[in-house]
Amino acid sequence: MKASAKDMFGTAKLSLIGLMAFLGIWYLVDLSQLVSTKFLPMPHEVLLKLIELFHIPFAGNLLQDHMMASLQRYFWGFGLAVLIGVPLGLLMGWFRWLDDVVTPLFDSVRFIAPVAWVPFAALWFGTGAGGPTLIIFAGAFPPCLINAYRGAKGIEVRYLEAANMLGVGSFKTITEVLLPAAIPSIIAGLRIGAGLGWLSLVGAELIAASSGMGYLIVKGQAAVATEIVMAGMLSIGFVGVLIDVAIRKMESFLLRHRQN
């Protein structure tokens, strides 16, 4: 059953009301002076500050430069997690002994929250770029590995039997049978990993960094500039969504030949 135009209009109207109510309550709280605007700046003040941060530097950099610093660390950490996690997961799905050896090691570290690596990251890398990269890696690696592994394990046995019968070797079976079959699961893992990596990045920058979005908001906090903190949070959320959209675009590109 298709939603009628009237239904769609009704939904849009309700959504608009919902948004207005959200902003309305926000304004009301401010105008009633229950909370000082120092702690809860009005929505338009946050937006104006956001625009201002693009041309007036805060915490040593313009907003876009903080963002670039964060993205640079992010792509190193996330890239490493994908480059190591996905192949390792596939190999574990294929070689039983590797699975038996890696799984207990992996299980013993996966419950460590990624940000808990911050002190060691500081000890090992000082204030260099390696520290945040390690934290992002710690956040993004587990889903990349687990999903590639599950994707490889979930393959239909007859494909493997066919490959085996046709005399395909281990390497070719992995690249030409396991990998394509595991793509949907791998992409799902990349999406989770990308989100956790982005989260871990913020955590790392809150604690140990001198640039980046996490640093920006923590400096905003130190200056009790709530509108800067909120503007930074909005930008972090926005770029997080962009990253997710990019991965989904990649998914539809990779899976364009599949039919449901």
């Binding site: 207990p104 013993s108 911050v118 982005w198 809150l206 905003g220 903190v229 949070m233 969504v241």
Partner: protein, 268 residues
């Protein structure tokens, strides 16, 4: 390729290899740090230091308290934030899943707040509530709230249409409809949400305590980093992992109790 699991002395090959791997790793750790000294104690602590650090924090205390006090404090904060988030988030998710109108009303605000990583709330929570426990509970609440809502919502949406129609035809409504149809129907997804919420809670707590706290496992990490005391950092990391694993296991146990009809146990 399916291969049969050979049994050696009652344990599977898998278990033996697993135990062997852990033993080898511990041995390598000991060799690299204590025997050859290739890794200096400032970079990674030798086993002996870790044992001493454990004794120190368990018996004399470190960073304003003994180990069990820190653990208890962290657990308390997680349970408070997580508990409130579940108590608010699950009903809200059920409501949004059931009523299109409620969904249309609430979604815009939710979509605006949802992409913001919970850790990014830490500075705001500090501005609002300072460095005390209240700020931590707020941040944990935010972290646990989003997965609770989303998964309860998805759970209701995934209930088979015929079940909803049958309930309607039989005239089940109001409170009974919620307890007998919505909640059991959405149960598996609700629990998925709780598991994700709980993991997010621990991550967020550690980050919040690292930023500034007097007690808790995250504050030991912070203190250890400031004192350049790698053994204590390692102890704190180990207990962060144990607490996370333990609370997830407890939730898994609750899940099998709550849904006895599901024979297959779901692991995290």
């Amino acid at each position: 390729m399916p291969r049969s699991d050979t049994q050696i002395v009652g344990l599977s090959r898998r278990t033996w290899l697993g135990v062997l791997t852990i033993v080898v790793v511990l041995l390598v750790w000991w060799l690299l740090t204590s025997v050859t000294g290739w890794i200096s104690a400032v970079r990674f602590p030798p086993p002996k230091d870790v044992g001493e650090a454990f004794k120190q924090i368990a018996l004399q205390g470190y960073g304003n308290g003994k180990l069990h006090q820190h653990i208890f404090h962290s657990f308390k904060l997680v349970m408070m934030g997580f508990g409130v988030a579940v108590a608010v988030g699950v009903p809200l998710g059920l409501l949004m899943g059931y009523s299109r109108k409620a969904e249309a009303l609430i979604n815009p605000a939710f979509l605006l707040l949802r992409p913001i990583p919970p850790l990014a709330w830490i500075p705001l929570a500090i501005v609002w509530l300072g460095l005390g426990d209240a700020a931590k509970v707020l941040v944990i609440f935010v972290a646990a709230f989003v997965p609770s809502v989303i998964n309860s919502y998805t759970g209701v949406r995934n209930i088979d249409k015929p079940i909803m129609e049958a309930a309607q035809m039989l005239g089940i409504r109001g409170f009974k409809f919620v307890t007998d149809v919505l909640v059991p129907g959405a149960f598996p997804m609700i629990f998925t949400g709780l598991r994700l919420s709980l993991q997010a809670s621990w991550t967020t707590l550690v980050a919040a305590e690292l930023v500034g706290a007097l007690y808790g496992l995250g504050s030991i990490l912070n203190q250890g980093a400031q004192d350049i005391y790698p053994a204590m950092i390692l102890i704190a990391m180990v207990f962060v992992a144990i607490c996370g694993a333990l609370s997830t296991a407890l939730l898994g146990y609750a899940e099998t109790k709550a849904m006895p009809w599901r024979s297959e146990r779901v692991t995290a």
